[in-house]
């Protein structure tokens, strides 16, 4: 019996010493793996999305906005819907030197492929910047609940605002008090007859937020584009993806401009001024011999000790202890039926 076998014998549900060797043989009892897709297929001579030959689509005059409906919703959009999506995408294209552009510029300076710069900008879309998924799901859940409980949209909007006031994904903020673009988006959707479920509800949310907020607030770009996308029947996640990609076009331009203006940056080239540093003062590195007496173990043995250690660690910026992520509370989900 080997040392490892002794070590693991009582801890593993299998015979450690006699574990099988070799890759698992092909599973012939089931259908072999194939790429399963509801979205598209291609063969030698065709590319077909949701049943439509893509070349035939473009030859028939359908454009990018139409194709996005085909891919995401498996349908040809109304002309008004395609027009509205174009409108939304134009507004979503550029946002100055915000996160996606900055990311693209930073990656670009490494002399990476432009695809990496543009792709990296998409990663900047989260639950604060471009929070279309969080926003859309919030709206949908509330509206579903209002309908289920027979409550008015205004009543549910107020509840939504009370629970989410100040949240980055509310869609109402002080960001667009002087810029009319968000409100014009709703006006255009209404003019085109596309304010279906979410835009009217979002108007209630804005009204509630304006009543409840101590400072002036109004519909912002997230709220305008997010609600419009949902009234175009895009899911919150689809809206998130489509608008993140839309922004990546401009991020590509920012990446290009960064190289044209600034050139590449090499490893070690960029300095960080000492005056920007507010970490521990400079200190001597202990010898390895000294380590035994100077190094403090990170483990804690009691809950109080643990709490104290966590609070202490939170004082170190960059440690991550100041960030507390919200995770789903399983108690709030409700019990599932027992399996038979």
């Amino acid at each position: 019996m080997g040392a490892l076998d002794k070590k693991y014998r009582d801890r593993l549900p299998y015979d450690y010493e006699n574990r099988e060797r070799g890759a698992v043989p092909p599973d012939t009892t089931r259908e072999p793996f194939r790429w399963v897709s509801e979205v598209a297929y291609k063969n030698l001579h065709r590319i077909v999305a949701r049943g439509y030959d893509t070349t035939e689509l473009v030859e028939a005059g359908y454009g990018l906005a139409d194709m996005i409906f085909v891919d995401f919703q498996a349908r040809i959009p109304l002309k008004e819907e395609a027009e509205m999506l174009n409108y939304v995408m134009i507004l979503g294209l550029e946002d100055g030197l915000s996160s996606p552009a900055v990311v693209a510029r930073a990656v670009s300076r490494s002399h990476a492929y432009l695809t990496q710069a543009a792709g990296a900008s998409i990663l900047a879309f989260g639950h604060a910047y471009g929070a279309y998924s969080a926003f859309g799901n919030m709206l949908r859940k509330r509206l579903d609940r209002a309908e289920k409980e027979g409550r008015s949209a205004a009543e549910m909007a107020e509840l939504l605002v009370r629970e989410n006031q100040g949240a980055a994904h509310l869609g109402v903020s002080n960001l667009m008090l002087k810029d009319p673009a968000a409100k014009r988006t709703f006006a255009r959707a209404e003019k085109l007859g596309l304010a279906r479920r979410y835009i009217p509800f979002m108007r209630e949310v804005v009204a509630a937020a304006q009543r409840l907020s101590p400072e002036p607030v109004d519909l912002d770009m997230l709220g305008a584009l997010g609600a419009t996308m949902m009234d175009l029947h895009f899911s919150p996640e689809a809206a998130w993806g489509i608008l993140a990609v839309t922004r990546a076009f401009a991020a590509g331009a920012h990446g290009i401009e960064e190289i044209e203006r600034m050139g590449c940056a090499r490893l070690g080239e960029c300095l960080t001024p000492k005056e920007d540093y507010d970490g521990p003062p400079e200190r001597a590195v202990p010898s390895l011999e000294e380590r035994a007496t100077t190094a403090k173990p990170g483990q804690t043995r009691s809950l109080e000790e643990w709490r104290k250690a966590v609070d202490e660690r939170a004082k170190t910026m960059g440690s991550g202890f100041r960030i507390v992520e919200e995770i789903e509370d399983p108690r709030k989900i409700g019990k599932v039926a027992k399996r038979k």
């Binding site: 060797r21 070799g22 890759a23 698992v24 092909p26 599973d27 089931r30 793996f33 194939r34 790429w35 399963v36 897709s37 509801e38 979205v39 598209a40 291609k42 001579h45 590319i47 999305a49 893509t54 070349t55 473009v58 030859e59 454009g63 990018l64 194709m67 996005i68 085909v70 995401f72 174009n86 409108y87 134009i90 507004l91 294209l93 550029e94 100055g96 030197l97 900055v102 492929y113 432009l114 695809t115 543009a118 792709g119 998409i122 990663l123 879309f125 989260g126 810029d179 014009r184 988006t185 255009r188 689809a238 998130w240 993806g241 990609v245 839309t246 401009a250 590509g252 290009i256 401009e257």
Partner: protein, 299 residues
Amino acid sequence: MDREPLFRRKTAISYKTEEKTVLRGYDLSELAEGGYRFADVMFVLFQGRLPTENESEMLDYEMAEFMEHSMSPSSASACAVIGGRPHLPAAIAAAVMSFGGAHGPGAAHAHMMNKYIERARAEGKTLDEMAKICVDEYMDAGRPIMGMGQPQHTDGDPRAEPTHIKQEELGVDGVYLDFQKAVEKHFHARRKAEGRKYVAVNMIGAGNTALADMGFSPNAAWVVSGCVTRGFSGAAHALFMLKKGRAWSASKNEPMVQMLDLSMIKYVGPEDRPVPSQEERQECARKQLEEGEFRKWAL
């Protein structure tokens, strides 16, 4: 609320105030209100100008047809990444980042065209003469000619020739299309003379040529019609896997063997071997170095 830019740069692309976002001098909201389509704004973004109607139509055609390509490295990447259930943007970014030297090498093709067109100008040759030189130089060196051939559509990418035709129909053809078609002519002729099979133009050869003729730089073209446009369908494929597939793609409970089922692994590396003890380590390591078999496996 801190509304300072994340970093400061002089930029000729856009500015953003509390009142508006201005792209190359145009208020973005006014562009949308004015009825322009997204394709129009691509011209504003990358070229600082509004396109003609035909240019706009051509770009919209191209972006729409390039958006979806079923299972390619981009969509496969998106599907694989979403299997771990990260945030959706990670899967989309992976799709976009899959474009490189082989999958949609858009910028490289345009750089090649620019180089040879400039040579034609400098050397006083016609585009047709320079296209032959281009083909011969690449083929003599055993290098593939960018813009030709597609591993899945071996009879030619079904989107490619229609793109050439559309470019001609809309009258948005210029020196790039002349050069590209000459490259194709000489490429086909040489392969035929060498008894090699027909290899058709691909979407880079067709689409990129149209973009170049409409004034997009190699890199701008790569973004506009290439990698980023595909991000839309990358998102759709990832969402399909997210909403209708199982995380990890390895479940034994699915009727079909999954992408990451253990049985999908075909291992062709070194045979299983015992782990040397620390006492045996130096001798074993020295032997491996001397025998050099590891070089066969080293990547």
